[in-house]
Symmetry: C2
Subunit: 309 residues, 2 copies
C-alpha cells in the first residue's frame, strides 16, 4: 500500500515531509522510482506523463496537486475508472481571494493612473468613488469564485456571479446559462474569470463576450490561459471596449519574451502566482482522502469527467 | 439661524445641494459672503482663515469637513468655547479601509517585484506566503484604525494595534502607551499609521521607531505628513531597515516636483487620495449634528482639544 508522487514541477522535498506529517508511516514513492507497481494504491499527481497511471493495476484514486484539473482530464491515458480528486484547500482559496481583491482594489482605486503620475513626478489628484459604484462580475461560482465574491461584497462592491447551472450564494446575484451570461456582463465594470477550463469555456474571454461588457470595463483572468483569446483582448483594449486587464495565466507559460502583453501599458502581467498549492496545508487534504478510502467512505471533491471539473 | 460654509478647497457646488438635501430649508451662506454675522449659528469648515470664526458671536458648533482636525486645533484664532465636531462618515472610513487593504495586499503579494519583472519582460515566479505569515501593526485605533484592522483580520493577517490609552478591539491585539509601542513595533512586518496628528505624534515615524521594527518591514502612512521625518525614512530605506513605503500624505502638499520620493524605487506615492470626504454621504452627519443642537441633545464626536483629537 503506497502513494506514488508524480510531478515535474512540484518539489518532493517539500511534499514528502508534509505528507508524512499528515499520515505518519505512509509509504511514498517518487516517480519514476515507483518500485513494485502493484503496491501503488494512490497517486498524488500533477500532469503525469502519458501512460504512467495506466501501468498501476491497483490504483484507487488520483489526488490532484493543483486546483485546475483540465490537463489531467484531457489526457487520454488517464484510466477512466479511477476517481480524480480535485484539491480544495483553504490556503489555495485564500490566496486566490487575495489576488482578486488586490487586482479589483488596484483598478477601483486607480493604481495604474497613480503609478503613471508618480513616474512623471506629477501630483494628479482625483476623486475616489465608493465601492458601491464599482460592479464586479465573477465568472464561475465554485469554491474560489464564491470566496472571492464574499470578500468583495464585504468591502461594499456590488457582486454578481455566473455559473453553468443555477446556484444560490448569499448576497451575490447569481446568473446562469447562456441568457444569464448577457445579464452578468451588461452590469460588470470589473469582470473576474475563475471558471474551470472545459470544452465549453475554452476561449470564452473573446470579442463576443467583451462586446457585452460596459464600455471601459476591466478584465481579471486568474483561471486558465485557455479561457482567453489573446488577439481579441488586444483589439478590445485598442478600441476602448476594455480599459485594462490583469492576467495571471497564459496559454503558454512562461509568457514568451517579446510577447505584446509584457509591454502593454494597460495590461498587468503576473507569473501565475494568484494561488499556489502549499504542501503543508494541502497534504492533510490528501491524507484525509486516503483515510476515507481506507474506511470505505465515499471520496469528496471527485471530478465529474463529463462536466469537465 | 444660518450655516456658514468655509473652505478654500471644498466645492460649495457639491456641498450645498448635499446639505440642503440633508436639511431642507437650511439657510447656508458661503464664506466670505456671511451676511449678518449674528445669524450664523453653525459653521461647516476646513481650515478657516485666522479670525473668521472669532467674528461669529452666536456660533454654537463647528463641523469639520474632513477627518483630520490638527490644523484647526492648532489655530490660535479658533474660539475655545465653541465645540469642534470631527467628521465620522461611513464612506470616509470605507475609503481608508480600501486604501490600507490595497497597500497591504500589494506589499504582501509582491506587487512592486512583479511590476519590475514585467518592465523587464521577465517571468519571475516566486512563492506566495499565506496572510498568516504577514503581521500587520496599526498605529491608531480610532474609527479608521479599527475598521482597517478588522478588514485585514478577516483576510487572515495577524493584526495588532497601538493607541495612547488602553483599548479593546475584538480580534486585534491591543497595545498602548510608550512600552506598548515597542511591543507593537517588534512584531510588525507591515506598519500602518492612522494616528491623529498631535504634539505627541508629530514626527513619530522616525529613526527611533524604525529601529524597533523587524528588518525589512514596510511602512504605510495614510494619516498626516507631519507624522513622518522624511530624511529618516530615506536613511532607513537605504540601510535596509525598511524594505519600502507607501505614502499618501506629505508635510507639504502637493509634493514638490523633484522631491526624492517621486523617483525612489521603493516608495509608492499617492496624492492624498486614501480617503476623501464625499458630500452626499458626509452632509447628513452635519445635518444630524445641527438637529441634536436644536433638540438640546449633546453633540457626538466632539474633539477633545487637550488630547488633540
Amino acid at each position: 500500500m503506497a502513494l506514488l508522487f508524480i510531478s515535474k514541477i512540484d518539489d518532493p522535498g517539500e511534499w514528502l515531509p508534509a505528507l508524512r506529517a499528515a499520515r505518519p508511516g505512509l509509504d511514498i514513492r517518487v516517480w519514476p522510482n515507483a518500485g513494485a507497481v502493484e503496491e501503488i494504491r494512490w497517486a498524488a499527481a500533477w500532469n503525469p506523463p502519458a501512460g504512467v497511471l495506466a501501468r498501476l493495476p491497483n490504483l484507487e484514486a488520483v489526488f490532484s496537486l493543483g486546483a485546475g484539473v483540465d490537463t489531467m482530464i484531457a489526457d487520454p491515458g488517464f484510466p477512466r475508472h479511477v476517481p480524480l480528486v480535485r484539491l480544495v484547500d483553504r490556503l489555495l482559496t485564500q490566496g486566490m481571494t487575495e489576488y482578486v481583491l488586490l487586482q479589483v482594489l488596484d483598478r477601483h482605486r486607480d493604481g495604474a493612473l497613480f503609478r503613471a503620475a508618480q513616474a512623471e513626478g506629477v501630483w494628479r489628484k482625483q476623486s475616489v468613488r465608493p465601492a458601491s459604484s464599482c460592479r464586479v462580475g465573477i465568472l464561475g461560482l465554485g469554491v474560489l469564485g464564491r470566496a472571492a465574491g464574499s470578500a468583495l461584497m464585504g468591502l461594499g462592491f456590488p457582486v454578481a456571479g455566473w455559473s453553468r447551472g443555477p446556484k444560490d450564494v448569499p448576497g451575490i446575484t447569481c446568473h446562469h446559462g447562456p441568457e444569464g451570461l448577457t445579464a452578468l456582463l451588461s452590469r460588470s465594470d470589473i469582470l473576474v474569470c475563475l471558471l474551470p477550463l472545459t470544452a465549453e469555456t475554452r476561449g470564452i474571454l473573446a470579442r463576443p463576450l467583451f462586446d457585452r461588457l460596459p464600455r471601459g470595463a476591466f478584465l481579471i483572468n486568474a483561471a486558465r490561459g485557455g479561457h482567453l483569446v489573446e488577439a481579441d483582448l488586444l483589439a478590445a483594449l485598442e478600441d476602448g471596449r476594455l480599459a485594462g486587464a490583469a492576467l495571471d495565466v497564459f496559454p503558454k507559460e512562461p509568457l514568451a519574451a517579446g510577447h505584446p502583453f509584457w509591454t502593454h501599458p494597460r495590461i498587468i502581467v503576473t507569473p501565475h502566482v494568484a494561488s499556489l498549492t502549499q504542501p503543508a496545508s494541502a497534504a492533510p487534504r490528501i491524507a484525509e482522502g486516503i483515510d476515507r478510502l481506507e474506511r470505505g467512505l465515499p471520496l469528496l471533491d471527485v471530478v465529474d469527467r463529463d462536466r469537465g471539473y
